[in-house]
């Protein structure tokens, strides 16, 4: 058994939420730079330029990239040989509490669907837990903004609708979203499982490395085809048209019922803030 102090988890979550909200990841910045070079429309280029300048200003001033600093999502993997001295969920929420107040991040969580009282410390986080082999803890931490999350959806297709059905659904969803989710976007797609599993893996696909490609050949081709087709939609940065609608498409899949083809589409804005830490 390996003993881990939950206070360590709190500190990691605290530091991570501050860091991801102030610094855009390097691979994402390179993708935006590349998109700017290839963008042919003047106004779209200038919006991409704003996005690049923005991350410089945020990095220099240690201030948030975007005013919507999101709701925290954690994919938590706990090795079965680990012993904890307290509640890891409380520890994660304590890290959120500390990070959002000390990092000048906006508290964007309300407690009830209709009363809508702000919880004032951005808790609770949404936490998905898996038990793994070994003696490590892995935390994949994201701050997910509301604008792009609101344009996401889950649909239960029928198996015979197949790849073409999935493509049409994705393209329709992105067309409908237009400029609202702050394009250029990253599209996370979960196919299979059931209603909730498709959504959980869709979001998890957004936490994959940006340069990482699906290993399954059919899924890999679908990622590439969708990337090209989405960028032909002429939605463009902030919806003003142009060559740059999406920066990447990620697809995760899972076995499913013979009668089902669940598809979840989770849209991520260009301010993709996430990190991965192993303890």
């Amino acid at each position: 058994m390996r003993n881990i102090d939950v206070a360590e988890v709190t500190k990691i979550v605290r530091d991570s939420v501050i860091k991801i909200n102030h610094h855009l990841g390097n691979s994402l910045v390179s993708l935006i730079k590349k998109a700017k070079e290839n963008e042919r429309k003047e106004i779209s280029k200038s919006i991409l330029d704003d996005i690049l300048n923005n991350q410089e200003i945020a990095k220099e001033g240690n201030i948030p990239l975007c005013q919507d600093t999101g709701m925290v999502v954690v994919y938590l993997e706990i090795g079965r040989e680990i012993s904890l001295n307290g509640s890891i969920y409380d520890a994660i929420n304590e890290g959120v509490r500390q990070g959002y107040s000390e990092g000048y991040l906006r508290k964007s969580v309300v407690d009830h669907p209709f009363d809508r009282k702000n919880t004032k410390d951005n808790t609770p986080a949404v936490i998905h837990t898996t038990i793994t082999e070994g003696s490590k803890i892995k935390l994949k931490i994201a701050s997910k903004g509301g604008g792009s999350e609101n344009m996401s959806k889950v649909t239960m297709l029928t198996p015979t609708e197949g790849i073409e059905g999935v493509k049409k659904l994705v393209l329709d969803t992105i067309k409908y979203a237009g400029g609202k989710p702050c394009p250029p976007i990253i599209v996370g797609i979960g196919i299979g499982g059931n209603l909730e599993k498709s959504a959980i893996i869709a979001k998890e696909s957004l936490l994959r490395d940006l340069n990482d490609e699906a290993s399954d050949p059919i899924i890999n081709k679908l990622e590439k085809d969708l990337y090209n087709e989405i960028n032909m939609l002429d939605i463009g940065p902030m919806g003003v048209g142009g060559d740059t609608t999406c920066l990447a498409v990620k697809i995760n899949y899972y076995p499913m019922h013979i009668a089902a083809l669940p598809v979840a589409i989770n849209i991520q804005c260009h301010s993709a803030r996430h990190t991965e830490v192993i303890i």
Binding site: I43, C66, Q67, C182
Partner: protein, 171 residues
Amino acid sequence: MIKLNTPVSEKDIEMLRVGEKVLFTGTIYTARDQAHLRLIEEKNPAFDLKGSVIYYVGPSPKKDGFAIGASGPTSSYRMDKLSPPLMERGLKVMIGKGDRSEEFRKEMIKNKAVYLIATGGAGALLSSKIKKCDLLMYEDLGAEAVYKLEVDEFPCFVAYDIYGNSIFSKS
């Protein structure tokens, strides 16, 4: 590129065409859904709506040494039904992000007002154009309260003009 001082005049509005970059200097006001609901009921708002500019934003908390926290636009469609009563009272410019309903666009043209977009997610960049921020109304709404902002060359793009054009692609 056009530079405009606030409040804006009808002539300013007539000048604006879709896709044009506009830099605003002067006073602009923040308001989101909740503040709109209250402003509509307000007999004597704490600012003159005539020729006013409203920016849809809920800033993040400010750090010492800065005038305001990150201040990028929020999605405008949530204000589509709430804008007409304010345009009827003189509101001329709305700044946000994303496209809006056909009904909004008709009302906007009828009232000779314009809709502009600022770069969504560029909260740090846009905050650097805001020199001063004072709480004006509805303190209890926190980040969603009405703030009076002094801006210097605040950058936006004309999204809908009074001639019926839209910046957004058709798809």
